[in-house]
């Protein structure tokens, strides 16, 4: 086994500072690794002196659906990845090539490249592939995940076509020093550990989170062979991964705020071969280094912010037949914006951003390659009456070679009913979205197509939100129903040309439409607390027209987009006990464009049982047992990639305050 130092050469001084219990001032380049103002919220409510809170980006996301997984909801997944949390807690379908293996998302019937993932306001999609592998994003790196389905390129930029995932770590000011250490062990050689620490007073907030996980993944699966079904152990699927996250917010004077954040992730995975395919000992190393820094000045009417980010993404693939294929991309981003709060009911934000990509990718040839993208945006939030909220966001992106149409989003929220105990709200928005061609789409040799047009989506959604509170009965019930439709044009697909070379082209128009229904119920009658959530998605996504080069049939559900998905979760707390269960349903998915083959639908049931002991004042010890795939379902998320049978993990967590 590699040592920690081997995996993070040069980074040990950073983490030892916490380990020794001292918040050393971070020296060197990491000292300016500053956390940008969060896209989501800045919790300044607890300041005794009056401080004007900054305007959150979500204030301009009027009329959209939003699901938040906060630190409580994420607690069972501390040693997992976004794949684990999202696929257990939401009806989102993540196409998974095996446990811990490549895992990509589909939101609202679109492809993996149509979900933007933003970390502290910056897009962290891998620029080469234009998508994120959610198995490479450990939950521990951030304390909050927001899922906003639907097009919102006006707010979030390229790729926010099917939806957006926002990662952030909101601060609780004045919370003092806290820390926790967690160890976990489980089936198939799972060993994991977390170390977390945070400190905040009224001026400074710091958070460190270190995570490590390794697994052999040598689970049993059923392999149909000539003599019948053989029980085999999965081979070539072991992996380790690690993450270090460090956030810093420093208040400067009464109005200023310096933010910095660092997030390093590293994963070394053997790639699980398909059932029946030869094991070519494929292995992939993914490393991402992410730094942001920003400064914000908040006045009563005006707010200025500048922030920068520097990312480096390394993806090295190798196998026996092809040897090594290496890629390294550095992304530098800068954003500047000004917000003007005319009145308490009207805000305008104007801003600009620039992105610079520098790629050294074996597939692009020997010389490094650069690309610049720019965008300007204007966001308006206006509440003409307390019950009516409106927003209008526009973004104009500038991409090399091709003009992108203006991408506006108009949103509306209208409180139709508001009584003491219940509210009914109408939500709606219309949005044009875009996706810039990826670096691979443009520069891969041979086949890269520099003439690709950006994909453009035009979507609408409308929904109702009903809330019911009954304080005497300690009940809270929120139900939301949304219907949407979106047309995505210039949809890019790689197909073989007449020369036999595979090349991406703008081939088709895809129409995605569906219904999302969810209801969340909380009940706190006393020592017992219950949180139950049911969510169901109906997603219909079909090619409606295509060019002459597009041989895929029309009006057939796109591959790997399930028509039906559902998630049902319950969380119970009673005195020192906690228990939870998640049950998800994934409907059948076609595995190809003609719909001639499909993977059957499946249910997955996971449960958790835990107990917390109060040791000393301030010290808590939590023991947690987690069981996965309790019904021992034999299922596949991606064609012929084995998934594990029933398995379990147990963890111990010692937390101080």
């Amino acid at each position: 086994m590699n040592t920690f130092r081997e995996r993070f050469p040069g980074l040990l001084p950073l983490c030892c500072s916490w380990v020794s219990g001292l918040w050393c001032v971070l020296a060197g380049p990491t000292a300016v690794a500053q956390r940008a103002p969060s896209t989501v919220l800045d919790s300044v409510q607890q300041l005794p002196n009056v401080r004007v809170p900054g305007v959150r980006l979500s204030r301009f996301a009027v009329g959209s659906r939003d699901l938040t997984l906060d630190s409580t909801a994420l607690a069972p997944y501390r040693s997992g990845t976004l794949t684990d949390a999202l696929s257990a807690r939401t009806p989102l379908y993540l196409r998974n090539y095996g446990p811990g293996q490549l895992s990509t998302i589909t939101m609202r019937g679109t492809s993996a490249q149509h979900t933007a993932v933003l970390w502290n306001g910056f897009n962290i999609m891998l620029p080469t592939l234009g998508q994120n592998d959610f198995a490479l994003l450990p939950v521990s790196g951030n304390s909050r995940i927001d899922v906003q389905p639907g097009p919102a390129a006006g707010l979030y930029g390229s790729g926010a076509v099917g939806g957006t995932i926002l990662l952030s770590s909101p601060v609780q000011w004045g919370a003092g020093l806290r820390g926790a250490v967690q160890v976990e062990g489980g089936s198939f050689g799972l060993r994991a550990g977390n170390l977390e620490g945070s400190f905040s007073n009224e001026k400074l907030a710091l958070r460190t989170s270190i995570f490590y996980r390794q697994t052999q993944n040598n689970f049993f699966y059923h392999s149909p062979e000539i003599g019948g079904v053989v029980r085999r152990r999965q081979e070539n699927a072991s992996l380790w991964q690690a993450s270090i996250a460090q956030d810093l917010i420093l208040r400067v004077g009464q109005r200023g705020e310096v933010t910095a954040a660092l997030w390093l992730t590293d994963a070394d995975r053997h790639l699980q071969p398909a059932i029946g395919a030869a094991n070519s000992n494929a292995q992939q190393r993914d490393q991402s280094r992410r730094l942001t820094a920003g400064y914000r000045l908040v006045g009563t009417q005006h707010e200025w912010a500048v922030r920068g980010a520097w990312f480096e993404d390394v993806l090295d693939y190798r196998d026996d037949a092809n040897g090594l294929s290496a890629s390294r991309v550095q992304t530098t981003q800068a954003q500047a914006e000004h917000t003007w709060n005319f009145t308490s009911s009207a805000s305008v934000r104007v801003g600009a951003e620039a992105q610079h990509f520098a790629a050294r990718v074996d597939g692009y040839g020997p010389t490094p390659l650069t690309e610049q993208r720019y965008a300007g945006y204007g966001l308006l939030r206006y509440d003409p009456w307390p019950r009516l909220q409106l927003s209008l966001n526009v973004r104009q992106a500038v991409l090399p070679g091709h003009r992108v149409p203006l991408t506006p989003t108009a949103g509306l929220q209208w409180q139709l009913l508001e009584t003491e105990r219940q509210t009914l709200q109408l939500k709606g928005n219309a949005s044009r979205s875009y996706r810039a061609p990826t670096l691979n789409d443009r520069y891969w040799r041979p086949g890269g197509n520099p003439d690709l047009l950006p994909e453009v989506g035009l979507g609408y959604e409308a929904g109702l939100v009903h809330t019911l509170t009954n304080p005497p009965a300690h009940l809270n019930w929120q139900t939301e129903l949304t219907a949407y439709q979106q047309l995505v044009d210039n949809w890019v697909q790689w197909t073989p040309l007449a020369t036999g070379i595979w090349s991406p082209r703008n081939l088709r128009q895809v129409r995605a439409r569906g219904v999302e229904a969810s209801t969340q119920f909380t009940w706190k009658p006393g020592a017992y607390r219950l949180l139950a959530r049911v969510a169901y998605n109906f997603t219909q996504s079909e090619k409606v027209s295509g060019t002459v080069y597009d041989t895929d049939p029309t009006n057939r559900q796109l591959p790997y987009v399930p028509l039906h998905t559902a998630a049902f979760s319950t969380d119970h707390h009673w005195r020192q006990w906690e228990a939870s269960s998640t049950l998800t349903f994934t409907g059948f998915r076609y595995t190809n464009a003609s719909g001639s083959d499909f993977l059957p639908s499946y249910f997955l049931l996971n449960t958790t049982l835990g107990r917390t002991l109060l040791l000393h004042p301030g010290w808590k010890l939590t023991a947690l047992v987690q069981a996965y795939n309790l019904t021992n379902s034999n299922y596949q998320s991606y064609q012929n990639r084995a998934m594990p049978p029933r398995y379990a993990a147990a963890s111990l967590r010692l937390a101080w305050r």
Binding site: A274, A278, T495, T551
Partner: protein, 364 residues
Amino acid sequence: MKPFFAFSSAPVRVLLGSAAALSLVACDPDSDPDPNQAITPTKTVFVVNEGNFMNSNAEISSFSKTTASVSPNLFSTVNNRPLGDVAQSMAVQDSTGYIVVNNSNKLEVVNLRTFRSLATINNLKLPRYFAAASATKGYVTETISYSGAPGQVSVIDLKTNTVTKSIAVGVEPEQLLVVGNRLYVVNGGANTVTVINTTTDVVEGTITVGDSPNSLVLDRNNKLWVLSGGNVVYNANYTAIDYTKTTKGSLSSIVPGQLTATTRELATNLAQPGRLTTNGAKDRLYYTFQGGVYSLGVNDANLPTTPIIKRSLYGLGIDPQDNTIYGGVSNGFNGAGKVIRYRNSGAPIDSFDVRVGPNSFLFY
């Protein structure tokens, strides 16, 4: 206090509606059971569907020439298991079929009358094509790796279905053909044909042909024809094919026993010819080139200049009984491929859907 449940009707309805939708609508589609058709010698065409790399969705389809019925998932329907990852080719010896499953590193041996599995020969190294020399002896070409190192031909005992010997040949060996007591192997990563004595299983010589040979056939005059794709060279930036350095495809003929070839170059290097095949009388050759199918007589002085079919075909086969041309259409490997049947003149007859990437045909 208002009764709590008075307000819950809307959410409950949503909930129940969703549950109902889930239970009623969420049924999986019916897997179309393949027609339980009999496989009749001389009346059945097998289609090799390559499948998608690393999806283990290779499949053999069968087409009945008498009823025109298609069994798209023949192998998995009969054997209740997937065939494997990337079916490269299929060959026959008596009534036994040998399916070369490239990225599963195996040969699947089936009884062609029932399509039931007889054996799996594992642990090959990226196998490509199979040919039998007799009822007891077969050969399979293996790439081993794409690093430029030589490939090999493995000798298979067809009684025990085991590898008895491996013979080093050229880089990326592709199709192979037994003529008398010689085995001819085209080396796709070079410009050579390796000749192996099938009595001793020793290499007896190497014949130089055009660059990147991919296929070979024997004609009625017992002459060997080797089709070479030509060496495709990319420009320094690897953004496009450099046609000043790319060599033309070529057609070579070899008289068995001799270690020399007569080679004719094709008209242009803008495309790479492939899929050389013959008609039933073995007096005509067919190959794919420049988005079409070209044909020539074995005694023709000149290579053909116009195609008989103007369509880019991924797979090509000629029914030896009636010379019907079978073309495989890959549809971008994104879903079901298609087989188009043509009269020998090139006029289309009909078509049927198969599985992903139909690359070749076996007329049984």
